[in-house]
Amino acid sequence: MIEYIRLDTLDLVLAGLLLLINGGLSLWLRLGLERHLAVAALRMVVQLLAVALVLRVLFATVSPWLTAGVALAMILFAGREIAARQARGFTGWWSYGLGVSCMAMAAVAVTLFALTTQIQADPWYHPQFAIPLLGMVLGNTMTGIALGLDSLTSGVGRERAAIEAQLALGATRFQALRPLMRDALRSALMPTINAMAAAGLVHLPGMMTGQILAGMEPVEASKYQILIMFLIAGGTGLGAVAAVFGGALRLTDERHRLRPDRLVKGR
């Protein structure tokens, strides 16, 4: 492994000057983006430094309970993201519960699988591996589930007459919702499929770039990236299938009726 080059504060300030240029352009072109840029940049710096400090404590203690607590907090935050990204979400507890439970199930299962069989750190729950791995799987599973559920719920509003026409002719709820569920799963999985197809050709994935910058041998870094891509695809697939099926069950009832009343009114 080659030694990595440490960055000091001045390096970050120099890179941050690029944002000042963006802000200046926004003012000059009257895009009105300068405030958003500044807030987003500030949030990014504070959040990343805070996470780094939390990780430093976690790595120093290697406590299974602290690691599990941080993992739980990550899952709950991601669940809020899923609920917030729905144009027409479910009413009540379901808006949060469905996304978060499917995401937690898929991401935790995939991460545990990787930690115990492929990474095999000592101990297996070592936060240096568990937290970044869960973070990457969780982030992508979250996006997949959010896209899938949004496609499903907006499709029900748009295709209500077609769905009910099929139900009226004796279709079961899954027969009537099949085209919508297929579209929802395509929406959920397409970003992951695109990312896999374009990896290495269009761009170097972030994690691999990071490892190369940190001095890792490129072939070793690519192996890690391949592992992560498989985990992401697995987690997103499992989570999206569970969420879309769960969503389809919630949008219908045991008498195979469509239940758009279980969605909040369009915002």
Partner: protein, 196 residues
């Protein structure tokens, strides 16, 4: 025979009535009075209470899809989910003889749904419902987009099916049509359902 027993749906008082084999019951009432709700409740498409029986068979004893194959609801605005007309018809042979009666050519099975006129949609939606051979047909203004000749053709087609025992409940705004097609009439007004 179709027996509706204390059928209760949000917005309507509980209602009970019977329709015999081959009979047609017309349902009238102002817009928004709940006529469609009544038909949808009989087909079990919305949450509802009470019981409905067909030929002594209770609705609650049947899986809902099997109930709806026997008791088929036809909405005013039909929904379409496939590319061509043929994608929507389960048994084309069952309706092949009736296309001409409704002024549609045999080739209409290959027509793209997106190019159908409102009247064509309405006639084809009726035919696709007849293609599953229901015992009861719940018609929600099935001729609202049709001219006089096409309306007469639909009424004649339904009458022929009734002669074979089909039970029909027909929602219509047209008082004359209600007189023509039905022997009994219900009035839905202010959430109440009463004989007329």
């Amino acid at each position: 025979m179709l027996r509706v027993d204390h059928l209760a749906v949000l917005g309507l008082e509980p209602v009970s009535f019977e329709v015999g084999d081959g009979a047609c019951l017309a349902v009238r009432g102002p817009s928004g009075s709940g006529k469609s709700l009544l038909l949808r409740a009989i087909a079990d498409l919305d949450p509802n209470g009470g019981e409905v029986e067909l030929d002594g068979l209770r609705r609650s004893d049947l899986p809902a899809p099997q109930w709806r194959e026997r008791v088929c609801y036809l909405a005013t605005d039909s929904g379409w989910w496939g590319e061509t007309v043929a994608d929507h018809v389960r048994d084309w042979q069952a309706i092949a003889g009736e296309l001409e009666a409704l002024g549609l050519p045999e080739s209409c099975r290959d027509w793209p749904v997106s190019q159908l006129s409102t009247g064509e949609r309405q006639r084809l939606a009726l035919l696709r419902a007849l293609a599953i051979a229901p015992r009861v047909l719940l018609l929600d203004e099935p001729t609202s987009a049709l001219d006089t000749a096409a309306t007469a053709a639909v009424e004649k087609l339904i009458a022929a099916r009734r002669a074979d025992g089909l039970i029909v409940i027909w929602v219509t705004h047209d008082g004359e049509q209600a007189q023509r097609v039905a022997s009994r009439r219900l009035l839905v007004e202010n959430g109440a359902v009463k004989p007329q």
